[in-house]
């Protein structure tokens, strides 16, 4: 039997289970896999974390440099999110320039942080128009077992909360590094929740085989005030407006749970 046929049969099986309210790994439709977040795992990075979502594993490192602000935001620091699907994480990943999935992941995480104003960029300006902090958030996927977006968002936020930035003094229009460090100023806590549509039912936190069986995916990012900061639909299927709103309410609930859990750690 070809591997395509095997995977078809498997997908059908998953779809039938979800249709009857069950999941192959025993979870309820609204259950996340076990979540584990560690921080400070890369001592040489200014911030770092490792998030496990079941077998999905993501490491995020934060590096802090000094650079130029954007022309249209002279008084603000700068951050970028980059994601690497390194080939040790999955037989599907290849070395080389970032895939479109990897670029989408980084941009969705970026939007969650940016639109919720999680990093207080105004506090990251040293010399207006000239020198600002530049924050590099690097997402490193180590094992891909589905729902990379939520794992990466969580790891990124944890790494940012863990980040210490070196203190600089400004002398004669030049910046000079001191030996002091202060925490990166964080003013919001965006949490991404991803749902998948399988058999016209919504499940949260799809794992790899569920991602192969799903028709569409919806990621909704909530900020600390339960406002939506970012949404991304993925996958080659479509959703009804009713499903979308159902997903939004479900995601809000899960986001509160995850935020509490994160703040505790």
């Amino acid at each position: 039997m070809s591997s395509i046929m095997v995977s078809r049969i498997r997908q059908k099986q998953i779809a039938q289970m979800v249709a009857s309210g069950k999941r192959l790994d025993g979870r309820g439709l609204k259950d996340y896999r076990p979540i584990k977040v560690e921080t400070g795992i890369i001592e040489k990075a200014e911030g770092s974390s490792r998030a496990l979502l079941g077998k999905t594993e993501v490491v995020v490192g934060v590096k802090v440099e000094i650079g130029d602000p954007f022309l249209d935001r002279p008084d603000e620091g700068v951050f970028t999110v980059n994601s690497e699907f390194v080939p040790l994480a999955s037989p599907e990943f290849e070395a080389g320039p970032p895939s479109e999935e990897s670029i989408e992941l980084a941009r969705v995480v970026d939007r969650g942080i940016r639109e919720s104003k999680a990093i207080d960029l105004e506090k990251l300006c040293l010399i207006p128009g000239k020198k600002v902090y530049v924050i590099f958030i690097d997402i490193y996927v180590l094992n891909h077992d589905g729902n990379l977006i939520d794992a990466s968002s969580l790891a990124s936020l944890a790494a940012l909360l863990n980040t210490k930035i070196p203190v600089y003094v400004v002398e004669e229009n030049e910046v000079k590094k001191t030996n002091d460090y202060i925490p990166l100023p964080i003013k919001n806590l965006p949490i991404s929740i991803t749902l998948a549509n399988i058999s016209d039912k919504l499940i949260v936190d799809p794992w790899l085989e569920e991602e192969e069986a799903m028709s569409a995916r919806l990621t909704i990012t909530f900020d600390k005030d339960n406002r939506i900061s970012a949404i991304q639909k993925g996958g080659t299927g479509a959703l009804t407006p009713q499903q979308i709103m159902e997903a939004a309410y479900m995601a809000k609930e899960k986001a509160e749970e995850l935020r509490k859990m994160l703040v505790k750690t």
Binding site: E100, E101, R107, I228, S229, A230, T236
Partner: protein
């Protein structure tokens, strides 16, 4: 999104004089390029976008061919002169992401299973950008697919809603997109009642999001009429040309 610029005036009108729920002026034309199997052109506000479809055709490179359906590919690309600062012609990360979401917006509408082992390639070229290019690009690509004779479950039509100066508005232009509080691009298949593209950035309550979603769908329904009209005039033109040949 800093919101420092005033985007809604005392009369409740927007920077370009529109009412909150008003679309920009729209012009569409189908069958504009002779080499492509299907093509279309849209102007929506100052957006000027071309789409072309090649296929179903042999897949190149061959190992990408799928045994049970056509491979759908989409490239969204901006001309270097389409934006204020000249853009490098190499695809940016933004263009790569939008290519993906537009492809996923169109895919549910197409009967790909009718053309196994082939590819259908969609090329979207933004000649001038003025906010909402992913939506206008989706709308015009759906027309190009129809022009190519690709069998579809429904047309796909896209439009954004969002929030500027505290007001929910339809079809954001460039400055509203950049300086407003939220942007919700939506692609919709009106006859199927399904949403195939949905993104959002900014800050909205769930209720505001719900309203934005509905507003965007209303916009889609209006644009859908332009799509059908554009296809109809193309059909009439072809019919006239054929009749002229037969005369």
């Amino acid at each position: 999104m800093s919101g420092k610029i005033r985007l809604i005036n005392g009369n409740g009108l927007r920077v370009d004089g529109r009412r909150p729920n008003e679309l920009r002026s729209i012009k569409m034309e189908v069958g504009v390029l002779s080499n492509a199997d299907g093509s279309a052109y849209i102007e929506q506000g100052k957006n000027k976008i071309l789409a072309a479809v090649y296929g179903p055709r042999e897949v190149h490179p061959r190992h990408l061919a799928l045994p049970d359906r056509a491979l759908l590919r989409c490239r969204y690309h901006m001309a270097p002169f389409s934006v204020e600062e000249r853009k490098s012609p190499a695809p940016s990360r933004r263009e790569i992401e939008l290519s993906k979401v537009i492809k996923e917006a169109l895919e549910p509408a197409i009967f790909l299973e009718k053309f196994p082992r082939t590819s259908i390639d969609i090329f979207i070229e933004v000649l001038q950008a003025d906010g909402g290019t992913r939506c206008a690009g989706t709308t015009v690509a759906a027309l190009a697919l129809a022009d190519a004779g690709i069998p579809m479950r429904d047309l796909v039509v896209a439009c954004a809603a969002g929030k500027v100066d505290g007001v929910l508005v339809l079809d954001l232009n460039d400055i509203e997109d950049k300086e407003g509080e939220a942007d919700v691009p939506v692609a919709y298949m009106p006859n199927l009642g399904l949403i195939s593209l949905l993104q959002m950035d900014g800050s909205l309550t769930i209720e505001e999001f719900n309203q934005s979603l509905n507003l965007a769908m209303e916009g889609c329904k209006q644009i859908y009429k332009f799509q059908k009209e554009a296809l109809r005039s193309r059909y009439v033109t072809i019919k006239e040309e054929v009749e002229e040949c037969l005369r």
